[in-house]
Symmetry: C2
Subunit: 409 residues, 2 copies
Amino acid sequence: MAVNLRAPNPASLAPVDGVELGFAEAGIRKAGRRDLMLMRLAPGARVAGVFTQNSFAAAPVQVCRNRLATGHSIRALVVNAGNANCGTGEAGLRAAERTCASVAAAIGCAPEEVLPFSTGVILEHLPVERIEASLPACIATLGAANWAEAAAAIMTTDTVAKGASRRAEIDGRRVAVTGIAKGVGMLEPNMATMLAFVATDAAVAQAALDRLVREVARASFNRVTVDGDTSTNDSFVLVATAQAANPEITDPGSPAYGVLKAALTDVSATLAQAIARDGEGATKFITVRVAGAASEDEAARVAKKIANSPLVKTAFFASDPNLGRLVMAIGNAGIADLDVSRVDLYLEDVKVIDRGGRGASYREEDGARLMRPDEITVRVELGRGSAETTVWTCDFSYEYVKINAEYRT
Amino acid sequence: MAVNLRAPNPASLAPVDGVELGFAEAGIRKAGRRDLMLMRLAPGARVAGVFTQNSFAAAPVQVCRNRLATGHSIRALVVNAGNANCGTGEAGLRAAERTCASVAAAIGCAPEEVLPFSTGVILEHLPVERIEASLPACIATLGAANWAEAAAAIMTTDTVAKGASRRAEIDGRRVAVTGIAKGVGMLEPNMATMLAFVATDAAVAQAALDRLVREVARASFNRVTVDGDTSTNDSFVLVATAQAANPEITDPGSPAYGVLKAALTDVSATLAQAIARDGEGATKFITVRVAGAASEDEAARVAKKIANSPLVKTAFFASDPNLGRLVMAIGNAGIADLDVSRVDLYLEDVKVIDRGGRGASYREEDGARLMRPDEITVRVELGRGSAETTVWTCDFSYEYVKINAEYRT
């Protein structure tokens, strides 16, 4: 069902010096599929992450937050699919810690140097022993060229593995940026995302990396929504291995920071769009641009209201130019002093709403024609200022209901 | 598809002295169905209303707000289905005014004494001439016993007409409270509701009536949600005709105020529940009770997050005890300092979540059994205070997508 999305060609995902990836079938929820992924990092790698704002943050998210806060070096990330280890209380925290300890023993580092990640069903206990039993097989596969296999091993209801890669030149050194992500439902990342791991061999100071992960999340994963439900396990982690031997990036105002940020954002936005293209039941990929806002937050509020409205999403599914639903969604964004007589709305380049009312030149036939393609752009002008943003989403089909009614069965 | 809901027996809807109802087929969007309703009020009736908080409030909503703000007496309400007269700019306002003027001329009052209401497709111009052409037929049917027919005439995608009635005794006088409502989708009333009209023959001072309409809305229509999309046309109007000749109710602290408020709330909550029971594609009626909150607003935020989550709603549709989705929804309510280790959750009387984690005694079989019935209650204890609220909603089925993908075709 994914909209214009294919699994990445493994050869297109550039290895990142200092990163090796392994995978295994641990049988965490279903037998016969890869559901365990290990990312081993060379000494000296720096790691930064942002995580879900859901109050019921999963046990592995809590462990990650604590470890990253202490400034410990990180030598490995371990990821399981099929079980979210969330709503599992103290036992869940112990399960996450034990997973880390087992990985640490197997690869020779301290437990505090391992970050755990989980995705899958909430409110069920993590079968740690199955992870432990599969670790040797996982470690045996470790290799720098395994990004595509790693992307496949972290999928749940994803239909297509998600990966992207770019190269850039920083202070005369070639650097690689490669990332993978998963996620297609329970998806409206808030300050974070579903699981996404992006690595570069550039050398970046910790403070600069901490800043980059937030800036990049804001311009990529925080701009995608499938169903408006923010997961308990969203995690976006940025790894910088320093193997490219460029002068360490420290200054957010430097050209090197800008070049790396552009490459990271490009990879991350591609992954974020892949998530919407593979959104549960998606038949269309929708881009919502909101401009003329008083602030970027305000623009995002309007864009998300449009992107999350079940009525707007079912109209896209039906290719029905029921564009009054867009009016309704804009009006619900909670902008107290919105002057609707200054609001314009375009479907592609056709003006549908002109100063708050139906455009004089708008014809139903144009709407019907523009709603048919599987990629559609909606553009809103609020007439309040100069801030703008873009949000990516998908439509809402029978298949979404089917997938989520049958997820566990 | 409506869940345990039948159209009211016409005999069960008590006439309200001072209120007559008429109906007609105006062919506003489709031929061969009643889509025009007129409510004529006796001189001396008082009217109060609350309306949508959507920034794109429809033209009739704007006209109603203005008229009620001036304190004009009101002699008639005119309601059309099939066209929302929203996103129609100045022309829409003129269409609403012209509708009122035509009604006024036909029944012999001033245009300012008529309130207009519209529901249906947004962003299309109101065919006023069809309304005008049908007014004589509508007026010819005016009668006090027509509440059931009036309820049917304001339906859009509703499958069942919605009406409720109660009697009460105030200061020794018998009074009637009868109301009708419509609405099944684009439905999360915000300070208001879809179209709902509740009348009583009690005598109520204007200030007391203005207060009652807000208090009753808060305890009824503002507690229901189908899809989280707040309509542009939501209107809840309370009429008090004073025909019962009770001493006029003025004091919100008086027993008479309390008795009338209870009867009004009872009728309005029954109508609000009818809306969720007839929610688009509904197969189950869900009650979400949130207690132990620091404030009623906080309780409502948690309850609405649960009630609006597509993942929670599809799990109810599937009778799948995927109760981790409830955890996810609670965590997304945006309570910054929520201590999840104090949160309990019950499905009916079975404790599923105990202090933030899976209940030790909870068994999957219990969950499966409790998810099967077509009426289900979820209860959350937040452990933060003593405020509580209840929200009513429905599940989310293939049929919701079908109805909304095909609404205009």
